[in-house]
Symmetry: C2
Subunit: 353 residues, 2 copies
């Protein structure tokens, strides 16, 4: 059977001050009426019904997840005791699925991405699932780049084969702009979407091979899946596991990696500028929510809370208001918002994080 | 005797959202540790002691005035029942002073101006008081212009006479920029400071002549000054008076108007840009108060309240935060803040005014 595994444990620091440790990006209505997490579950439902959907998140977000996805059973929300990276999260999901379904195919989905053309996405996903049924194959979905983005990792594929799932030649880190332009021109580079499809046994075999310490940590937990001892066993496994991403820990090292290219209006909506770009604008190019008065301003994103906000004579400015913290940021500097959060951490201003 | 009459009834709409109907500009610490009202009283004290100081303001601000100037007696705070313009305010003050001192000389001072060089100001004021002792003479203080300001009215004086108090040739409304440049080049134009000095009987004679309806309205109130009937009599007078400024109603029409030029770092701090210009800046040219985190920003004015404010990648932006309303405004557009307040009035958003 095919299962979705929605990774919803991130803290979304570039969405400060709306995104906080208490309520990160995936739990917010960033674009549209539903939260990103709700959209993620909804989007795959034609291929994977809700009773085969799993959300994996930090235990502090389990209640929030429950409230946003009331249709899921408690056991469908997998609780991480501490924040590790994606390899740990995926290992837990794999051993959990294998406990009841040795043939399980996992569709791993970040909970905080946006996809504009859902039908086109589902077509690509169906192809990826098909490709992942081949034993010992790791499949990822790659996005056909529309511009030389420097904020994404890239995947180079072998353009000589005819398959819908191409052989991956290499994974590349976030490039500088000239490298990104070269990637775009070459025609054989795709954006790394972070969406993966594989058999649970295939990814576990690769983890055993490439991340033996992680395998050791989780091996002992496997027999306790779906028992009252699961929580304690997983806690022990997480504390013994290294912090490493699945990309770095497995994908860049594995042999049989395939990529299915797609083009479906994907965005990881990594910062406020991306939210602005993806939102419906008024005739002055402004995106406004809350109680806002605008004079002589254009291309602004204003996300209000309770208070009245007056915007006068501004261009290309993001204003994000919350009850206890306010961000005013130029659209060209929205990536730097992460630095504000780093500063808050360094200063231990816990109340604003 | 010489008395000060401090006009403190304005609502300061260009200082929204800090300035509200409940607490206008003159009651705020705009620059420095004291409020503008406190600074105004303090500034003239070497020439006019506090027991000869009068504040005239809307009755809703009487308690606030008392709290800020606890040294004043209750009768030194004159209560206007409704907001009229400056002619009405000055007429009331004149009849009140004449009730106890037929020789009274009034120094009329707006409560919301800033003066950098107080000693130089006092020298000029002393000359103006001297000039105003001549019967039937209206004296105003004119500021030597430092740049072609379009936000001030101008006074043209007769440069041919040698007096310290020059004959006024004409009053000019706020000019456009090319006219302002001509005024500056001519050498015989001064900024209209709104500071006036005259005998109370002289200004009343002129009001009788030029504003007969106002004279009629107040004539009946005069015998009730300093009695329990004063409040009711003044209320009646105000309701019967036209709304007109002393400049337009009297100064532009009167015969014997003299101006004493001065140069003492005067500003009417008419908007947030002026506050920025007059404030001490850090090495990035920012003026910051409250709990503010700044990244990669310069020439900004951030006036915080309770909340944390993060400023990222901004230049030349004013951010004024209050509990229930926020202003974000480009420094070139600070005059337009008045339009926001006009809009709030039109929409009857009373709570934000």
């Amino acid at each position: 059977m095919v299962y979705s595994v929605i990774m919803a444990g991130g803290i979304g620091s570039r969405f400060w001050p709306r995104s906080r440790e208490a309520s990160p990006k995936q739990f917010l209505r960033v674009v549209g009426e539903e939260t990103l997490l709700q959209q993620t579950l909804q989007r795959v439902s034609p291929l994977i019904p809700a009773d085969r959907a799993y959300v994996i998140t930090h235990e502090r977000y389990a209640d929030l997840t429950h409230r946003q996805l009331p249709g899921l059973e408690s056991q469908q929300i997998m609780r991480e005791p501490i924040s590790r990276n994606t390899a740990c999260c995926i290992t837990y999901a794999a051993i959990r699925l294998l406990a009841t379904d040795p043939e399980a195919v996992m569709v791993v989905l970040p909970a905080d991405h946006l996809i504009e053309h859902e039908n086109r996405f589902l077509e690509v996903l169906a192809k990826a699932i098909e490709a992942a049924r081949v034993p010992d194959t790791l499949v990822t979905i790659g996005i056909k780049p529309t511009h030389p983005a420097t904020g994404y990792g890239y995947i180079q594929f072998d353009a000589s084969d005819d398959d819908t799932a191409h052989t991956v030649r290499t994974f590349a880190e976030k490039p500088d702009i000239s490298t990104a332009e070269r990637f775009l021109d070459s025609g054989d580079f795709l954006w790394n979407s972070g969406i993966f499809v594989w058999r649970a046994d295939a990814i576990l075999a690769n983890i055993r091979h490439h991340l033996p310490r992680m395998w050791e940590a989780f091996k002992a937990a496997a027999p306790h899946m779906n028992t009252p001892a699961e929580g304690a066993a997983i806690r022990k496994a997480y504390h013994r596991s290294p912090r490493i991403s699945i990309d770095y820990g497995v994908m860049e090292r594995a042999e049989n990696v395939r990529v299915v290219p797609g083009s479906f209006g994907w965005s990881d909506i990594g910062d406020w500028h991306a939210v602005y770009s993806l939102s419906r604008k008024n005739r002055h190019g402004n995106v406004l929510s809350g109680h806002v008065i605008v004079q002589d301003s254009s291309r602004c994103l204003v996300s209000g809370a309770e208070r009245l906000i007056a915007v006068v004579g501004l261009n290309d400015i993001a204003i994000i208001d919350t009850e206890d913290a306010l961000l005013v940021c130029h659209m060209d500097s929205t990536q730097q918002v992460k630095n504000v959060v780093d500063y808050l951490h360094a200063q231990q201003f816990q109340q604003y994080m």
